[in-house]
Amino acid sequence: MITVLFFAGLREAVGTSSESLALPSEVNTVAALRDHLAGRGDKWSALASAKNLRAAVNQDMVPLTTAIKDGDEIAFFPPVTGG
């Protein structure tokens, strides 16, 4: 199982803040996970159309090319705007 989190405008677009799912065997990068989730269609396509999508794996901000594995916590979000 992996945990997937969504924040800010992306959380509102997909309509959920987190879900747990079994990692499909062909999904081994953050980008592949994004495509997998976006492939559900409807509101999930927000993941494909998001400008400047950012991601974190186990609470480190990472490029979308980063590898993922079972047990990881993966977060998707827009560019941060704190401070």
């Binding site: 924040f7 405008g9 977060a75 560019p79 705007t81 704190g82």
Partner: protein
């Protein structure tokens, strides 16, 4: 070096934080600090209030990593970072970064460095209520380019 990072809904007192940062540390000759405030306008629209969302767990981790990066590069005695979350109105304090050091050059550089990295690396998101409704604040290109300054200057 002593450092402390807080993510909280509560407001903070600048004097009290700076006093705590330098208490008992009589070799600190310099404290540079930064306070970010909610503005009543942004991108041409009035802002009535704002809600700050964050990524619990990652937020503290990201802030501590940014502080550690600064402490690697400059001679610092103490760093205090506070970032508020939740509901905020114009004029309210959002963020504090305070840095103490024997000398002012290091304190200024580290304080600005921490703010610049926080702006693009720490997982906070602002949603504004404006006269045109609620909207998520867009990241600024100038925040990305602020990082380039440090890359050029110190090869990060």
């Amino acid at each position: 070096m002593k450092s402390s990072v807080s993510v909280q809904e509560a407001d903070f007192d600048l004097s009290a934080e700076v006093r705590a940062l330098t208490a008992g540390e009589l070799s600190a000759g310099a404290v540079a600090s930064f306070v970010g405030l909610v503005r009543d306008n942004n991108d041409g629209a009035g802002v009535a209030d704002m809600t700050l969302e964050h990524y619990p767990g990652m937020t503290e981790k990201a802030l501590n990593e940014i502080v550690a990066k600064a402490a690697d590069r400059w001679e610092l005695l103490g760093v205090r970072v506070i970032h508020r979350v939740g509901y905020l109105k114009p004029g309210e304090q959002i963020v504090l970064v305070a840095v103490s050091s024997p000398h002012r050059g290091n304190a200024f550089a580290a304080c600005e460095f921490i703010m610049d990295y926080l702006k693009t690396q720490a997982p906070f998101w602002k949603k504004e209520s404006t006269s045109e409704g609620g909207r998520w604040v867009d990241a600024r290109d100038s925040d990305e380019s602020a990082l380039d300054k440090w890359k050029d200057q110190i090869g990060l």
